[in-house]
Symmetry: C2
Subunit: 306 residues, 2 copies
């Protein structure tokens, strides 16, 4: 199977590339960035470009059987600063992609949505896929709209769309600039001797998923004819305060966070109900939080030392 | 109260203007069209312009206490031809409107969403507001995204947003070009001796709401501090075939429709559950279908004769 991985040079994308290669797939990556030399694979066809390059879509899709769309130009925490560019940078290019896929062949798409933002402040925890979307950040609004266009394309034009709604993904290769998640930022900062910050009092509850577990379900979704929306998380919540306790044990030293005012778009508590994805794919995360933190810390320590 | 009615020269908008004036409100209308001379009111401040004229938003909003947003650049049946322009013409301008409202004052907004498209093919009928949005036309996807941005604005910045999800609105002043609904098109065509067309076999079930009933709930929403989403329909379904029977009695002669192939984006059956709007506002439609058809036919006959 020839798969196009959009955003394949990113944190999550690079793990999905690894997984697809390990499973014998032929991989093309579309990404505006070059692959980091430490994670680049000679057998991957790396194409530098943006989904917004509408004229190049036939080239990107040529010879491709299935697409994994992981790219985003925005992140939850800053998406509210400019929702219009969130829309024009993500929603409209995906519509062009769907039109091009309709014309040029591939009928299978696995899409990275957002279990952490699409439900907004959930009315129940763990939150199932049947919960109404009520996002309170533009990132989540745009992800919901993208899901709707995918489902419309499936209904009208026979796309096979599998939508994954992950919780907070963490693990090796996650950046440290606070844009991709709290675990990456904390571990990098601790490794570099920098302070770590907590927005609010640390009572916020999150559901963390190790990136290789996400890559596994992404690959399973790609190989399956099952369509629809699936939460992909650990199914377990942990407060930021407890997370910091676990991190303290992982790094083997005391951690003294700086507490900042909470942010309006931060949801107090979100834990995903993963019974649907488990029933459909038999998938459940294999890497527990302590093991995942150790694996991430190991990578961070080497990376920051290099 | 000074109210800005966006789209106030349109079919629905002109009735909302009438109702607001009758209730003693001061009305400004923003519309790219001039008001039809037969419905124009000397006391209304008609401003010609588009919501896309971002630089003029302070002018449009000056002195305004509340906004009714009824405008759309697209219609359900053609929105799938160019979803990107649906998004850039409707979603992005509304985000600019919300930003301008945040800066220039009015904190109340009544929004015309779409009960007919937002639920897609509903899993139950009548369909309540708690049903997941699963639109199968771009018009419905964009309305859902607009609702999400409104609710986000309410959560983060204290907007009071009342979202109305009407069923198929019909009544006097509805156009005949097939873009605003089947009743207007049918009655105009019959009045002009033209054939009428049915997409599919006539078994499609719809919920029709008389435009003055919609104007009433729109005014109630404007005067209320209640927020959230509310279906606004008759609560009763009727097939297109039965509708044609009723129309036959209304116009007093036989009607022989031409049957065409069904369209993929037509939902087989949608009837709105109106218990929430009834409980919240005490609102229920006052004009039954036969009375509404008679009122519309009376107007159509005069209009087409003029």
């Amino acid at each position: 199977m020839h798969v196009l991985i959009i955003g394949g040079c990113g944190f999550v994308g690079s793990h999905v590339v690894d997984k697809c290669l390990a499973e014998g797939m032929a991989v093309r990556v579309l990404d505006p960035a070059r692959p980091n030399s430490r994670i680049a694979h000679p057998e991957v066809d790396y194409v530098r470009g943006h989904l917004e390059d509408q004229a190049r879509l036939p080239e990107f899709l040529s010879g491709i059987d299935a697409v994994v769309h992981l790219a985003s130009t925005t992140i939850p925490s800053s998406s509210n600063l400019d929702p219009a560019s969130d829309i024009s940078g993500n929603l409209i290019p995906m519509i062009r992609l769907l039109e091009a896929m309709r014309e040029h062949g591939p009928r299978k798409l696995v899409f990275l949505s957002s279990g952490g933002t699409i439900y907004g402040i959930p009315n129940m925890c763990p939150v199932p896929e049947t919960h109404l979307p009520q996002p309170i950040c533009s990132y989540g609004v745009v992800k919901a709209a993208m899901e709707h266009y995918l489902q419309m394309e499936q209904h009208l034009h026979g796309l096979q769309a599998t939508i994954l709604r992950p919780s907070n993904i963490y693990g090796p290769r996650q950046g440290r600039l606070g844009v991709q998640g709290v675990i990456g930022t904390y571990l990098h900062n601790l490794s570099l001797g920098l302070p770590i910050e907590v927005w609010g009092d640390g009572s916020v509850i999150r559901d963390f998923l190790y990136v290789q577990d996400f890559a596994d379900i992404c690959h399973q979704a790609l190989m399956s004819s099952l369509t629809g929306c699936f939460n992909a998380g650990s199914g377990t919540g942990i407060s930021i305060r407890d997370l910091i306790g676990r991190i303290q044990r992982t790094v083997g030293g005391p951690v003294h966070p700086i507490y900042r005012d909470g942010r309006g778009f931060d949801v107090p508590r979100v834990v995903l109900d993963i019974s649907k994805v488990n029933a459909a794919f038999g998938w459940t995360p294999r890497v527990g939080l302590d093991e995942g933190l150790a694996g991430t810390w190991n990578w961070v320590s080497k990376c920051d030392a290099a």
